[in-house]
């Protein structure tokens, strides 16, 4: 049973304007880790908006968990390239934000605040931010802010995590550290992940399945399953099969550029 399913989905932002994405069909299993790659402006973020119900499709159908998506989903976790932490809140308060909005936490927050804060502290510790719970965002480095942002996306235990180029602004070393962090979080307590990225190594290292999109209007060009054994260690990125996957995807992107 597919957890997320697109059936010939097209979307034009304004009626009558050209499609941003066209005839996109894909299906994502529960707890599958998929990655969307493609040139800038090809509609990757648009796919995110459709999955989360922030935009209705102009044509076609989007199903999540067996039901057609009719409006914003109620408890998806999202993280973007900018951490979007609220500057007047500490790390802990930022991570607690979904608990103030998502049920059943929202209505029990008063009674169970201590318990929920304990969960938040545990998660903050798991991503390596122990000791920074009471710091404000400007006191954290870019990588740390991104860790906090991912905590905020996961604290309410969503079944669906949407990551839109979350590591795009980080240096190469920090980026790899964060790959491993996401990998560990996902491996321990699986959830469905849609990761948008420009970085083919990132896509191959993390995902079960990589989708390559064409430039505007975005279509799915290639669906590639990554059969590297899990758990994957960073060392895998230096192996022959890994390089072969990256190379193959790279060629597809190359074709887009030329055409």
């Amino acid at each position: 049973m597919d957890f997320v399913r697109f059936e010939d989905v097209s979307l034009a932002y304004q009626p009558g304007s050209p499609f941003a994405i066209e005839d996109v069909s894909l299906s994502i299993r529960e707890n599958e880790f998929i990655s969307l790659v493609g040139p800038s402006g090809c509609g990757k973020s648009t796919v995110m908006k459709l999955v989360t119900g922030l935009k209705p499709p102009s044509k076609g159908y989007v199903y999540v968990d067996g039901r057609e998506v009719g409006g914003p989903q109620k408890c998806v976790g999202m993280a973007f390239q900018a951490s979007n932490l609220l500057p007047w809140r500490t790390t802990l308060q930022n991570v607690m934000l979904p608990m103030e909005i998502v049920e059943p936490y929202r209505s029990t927050l008063r009674a169970k605040r201590a318990e929920y804060e304990e969960q938040a502290r545990a998660l903050i510790k798991r991503v390596g931010l122990a000791g920074f719970e009471d710091k404000f965002p400007w006191e954290l480095s870019g990588g740390m802010q991104q860790r906090a942002s991912i905590c905020r996306a996961l604290i309410h235990k969503p079944r669906l995590l949407m990551l839109d180029e979350p590591f795009g602004a980080l240096d190469a070393f920090t980026r790899e550290e964060l790959w491993c962090m996401v990998r560990d979080l996902w491996q321990e307590e699986p959830f469905t992940v849609v990761l948008v990225t420009h970085d083919l190594r990132e896509a191959v290292f993390l995902a079960d399945t990589v989708y390559v999109m064409s430039k505007r209007p975005g279509r799915i060009l290639v669906r590639r399953e990554i059969d590297l054994p899990r758990p994957r260690d960073l060392d895998v990125t230096y192996t022959e099969p890994f390089a072969a996957y990256v190379h193959e995807l790279r060629e597809h992107i190359g074709h887009i550029r030329e055409s």
Binding site: K49, P72, F80, A82, I101, E103, M162
Partner: protein, 257 residues
């Protein structure tokens, strides 16, 4: 040697002292007649002599200003929140607000006098009319600068518009709001004094009007200086509140909430 910090703290007083001495020096050196331009010492003399009435009128102006300012803050918050959180309301009301703000508020005083008689009420309303605009603009700007991605994060958690306003919009607008209070309070003084000058028998504005018609320029200047002092004091007060409550906006770890 004075430390840098002491110097910064003393600088404004030194500037005031400098201009006070310059003023006194020019008046004395050129022997300017007091009914044209009184010296600092004669203004001071007049202030001491008329201390009680000055205080009485100053209190009146102060309370009038505060009342008008308070209405402006409430009104500004509500209208700013409406204008800032809905693009349609923004589009619909902005030209009207800008147009209204371009009208000199002194033009309203005669209308207000017809409606409410002379005295405190027109002064309060003039203070209100002149000072709400910066509050509206700043609150609206603060709300409208919400990042679209943050909105996506919240909406995909199931947040309502009200949730988004409470959790992100209003806190984000707070630095803008407090910045506008500093401007609004000084404008409120302008409004109440204008109205008192034209249509009141109470307040510093009235006192100055009365003094000038009896050629008592020293007292007129005393009134001007009292208004200036009240304005600076209130400005500083709101600057302090701003630093205390919205330190995060200035990335100042000490002033954070």
């Amino acid at each position: 040697m004075l430390s840098q910090n002491t110097l910064i703290r003393l600088a404004p007083w030194l500037v005031v002292l400098f201009f006070g001495l310059l003023w006194e020096g020019i008046v004395v050196a050129f022997d300017v007649p007091a009914f044209l331009f009184p010296s600092v010492s004669s203004v001071w003399h007049s202030t001491v002599m008329h201390w009680d009435p000055i205080m009485m009128h100053a209190t009146q102006t102060f309370l009038t200003t505060l009342a008008g300012f308070a209405i402006a803050v409430v009104f500004g918050l509500v209208v700013g929140a409406a204008v800032g959180s809905s693009p349609i309301i923004y589009k619909a009301f902005y030209p009207l607000l800008v147009g209204f703000n371009s009208i000199p508020k002194v033009a309203f005083v005669p209308v207000l006098v017809v409606w409410f008689g002379i005295g405190t009420i027109p002064a309060i309303l003039t203070a209100f009319l002149i000072s709400f605009f910066p509050v509206v603009v700043n609150v609206a700007t603060g709300l409208a600068t919400l990042e679209p991605e943050m909105e996506d994060v919240l909406r995909s958690l199931g947040a309502s518009r009200l949730d988004i306003l409470k959790k992100v919009g209003l806190p984000r607008a707070m630095p803008y709001f407090f910045a506008s209070l500093k401007v609004a309070i000084t404008l409120a003084f302008v409004g109440s004094v204008i109205s008192e000058t034209v249509a009141s028998n109470l307040g510093i504005g009235y006192l100055m009007m009365a003094a000038s018609s009896s050629m008592d320029m020293a007292l007129v200047f005393a009134g001007l200086i009292v208004i200036g002092i009240m304005g600076v004091a209130m400005y500083e007060l709101f600057a302090l509140v701003e630093r205390k409550l919205t330190g995060w906006a200035h990335r100042n770890p000490n002033g954070a909430m």
